[in-house]
């Protein structure tokens, strides 16, 4: 993990209130697994850094793509950053999807909203390994959807929106009957309520979930972003033990 002033190569709105930020720097070479994140200092005015998942990596050009959603004043201020500016980045943080250890032939990826981005780099890595990738992507509306074409280039994609303006109207779990039999392992990232629905519908199937929570330090020292676990330890820290967990490892509430 390192702290680095990374240079902005690209920064643009790609869906309503959702931005693509491409950063260049040495940190890119440290990324070892899809699903890891970086912790960004918006400016000195904002006390806490913002965790943003890594959506894509270009090792050759030393660039990483981050997609973030405007959630409040801090992320809103981040949208003002211009190409060629430098940003204070800490990372790469946490444990991602353990892609080298997972034995899967057919993977189901289930992403909700801003939980979709980390699954993209995962989908690319899985496809590279020869794994058949099927994706279910959920958004609030068509204008808030993104990356659907990119996922389509990697396998079958099902899209769902809350208001029905794109794809199926409803929840990501509504589409489970359509993908039955097309996967042996699932990977999911999104709001906790979605993760809970996905894991409870897919009990018995090996699965990995990526979680988010308000963070303090982002490196495991402050214990702000904990999630209960069933073992003797009783908890996991999302920033450093996660954000990706085996679905059986944590207790979603």
């Amino acid at each position: 993990m390192r702290r680095e002033w990374m240079t902005i190569i690209e920064h643009q709105e790609i869906a309503r209130q959702t931005y693509r930020l491409v950063l260049k720097g040495e940190m890119v070479g440290d990324v070892s697994e899809p699903g890891q994140f970086v912790h960004i200092q918006v400016s000195k005015e904002y006390y806490l850094r913002r965790p943003v998942s890594i959506s894509n990596i270009d090792m050759e050009n030393k660039t990483m793509t981050l997609l973030y959603k405007v959630m409040g004043k801090g992320t809103d201020a981040m949208t003002e950053k211009k190409v060629a500016e430098k940003v204070d980045v800490l990372g790469p943080g946490g444990q991602g999807f353990p892609i080298d250890k997972i034995n899967t032939k057919k993977a189901l990826l289930v992403g909700g909203g801003i939980g979709v981005p980390p699954l993209y780099y995962l989908a690319k890595q899985l496809e590279k390994k020869g794994v058949q990738v099927t994706s279910i992507l959920g958004f609030q509306s068509a204008e808030q959807a993104f990356l659907t074409d990119e996922f389509e280039a990697l396998g079958d994609v099902y899209v769902t929106t809350n208001d029905g303006t794109l794809g199926h109207q409803g929840l990501v779990t509504d589409l489970f009957p359509y993908v039955k039999g097309s996967f042996d392992t699932y990977f999911t990232c999104g709001p906790t309520v979605m993760l809970k629905a996905v894991t409870s519908e897919l009990t018995g199937v090996p699965g990995y979930i990526s979680m988010e929570e308000r963070m303090g330090c982002g490196i495991g020292a402050c214990f702000a972003c904990v999630v209960p676990s069933n073992d003797e330890k009783g908890y996991r820290r999302i920033c450093c033990d996660g954000p990706v967990f085996d679905a059986k490892e944590v207790v979603l509430s």
């Binding site: 993990m1 702290r3 006390y47 929570e213 308000r214 303090g216 490196i219 495991g220 402050c222 908890y235």
Partner: protein, 310 residues
Amino acid sequence: MNLHQTLPGLHLKNPIMPASGCFGFGKEFAQFYNLSDLGAVIMKAATGEKRFGNGTPRVAETSSGMLNAIGLQNPGVDSIIKNEVPFLQEYDMPIMANVAGSTVEEYVQVAEKISHHVNALELNISCPNVKEGGVQFGTDPLLAEEVTRKVVEASVVPVYVKLSPNVTDIVSMAKAVQAGGAHGLTMINTLTGMRIDPATRKPIISNHTGGLSGAAIKPIAIRMIYQVYREIDLPIIGMGGIETAEDVIEFLLAGASAVAIGSANFKNPIICKEIIDELPVTLKKFGFQSLKGAIGGAHHETSRAGVFRA
């Protein structure tokens, strides 16, 4: 410039240490710099048994600061002695253990055990985020004196008491713990605060209230240290919103003999190291020939009339 400082139980090569709760048990920060560069380290709180702490969200940003309600999550004193202290002992710096509890008996039990493995204790009677113990001991002078006395008796190393700013009269609290036999003070802990999300109309932190830290509380810390320094003859380790070497000098001038850096570690994980490196130059910039020359400097020209007494 010589930055050495000697306080009860603590031989500091410089006056900078990370504050309890903002540094875990050091492992995470050891990937960024050599912890032996620190003056000392104050560990995350230890309680008798392991604690999970409060529900999430546990943090919220504020203007020039942050709120937290971790709730003293820790693996329990036995696990800390076995699994965490040995790592810190590999480094060349004194270790302070932060001791917490729900009852006087728990404080005593934790102090008795952990004092054999560290150089000093920080008695935590000021955590605003736990229902039992914590701040109730830190806002009642009689309870504060009692728990201090019993912990001092049980400990084999000097005991510093961490004062709560959530009181009307900080000097009377400092006098109470001095009467209880404290060897030093650490001040201040966080101030109780709250934020509400206009979109959900609910408190952001699941515990509703949290402890306010960061630059926002620095003037309060400076005022309280200034008041206590005038009235009490105990060394003070100051903390509360320190982010720069200049902030450190302000704390020294108010009366602190050393300082601890808290939530600034979250903004910048190498902040302690940066401040240690900058301190000699900054002291010189303001005309100080030594670290000790700055301590209490703001009191030299003013009377000790106790005008700030509540």
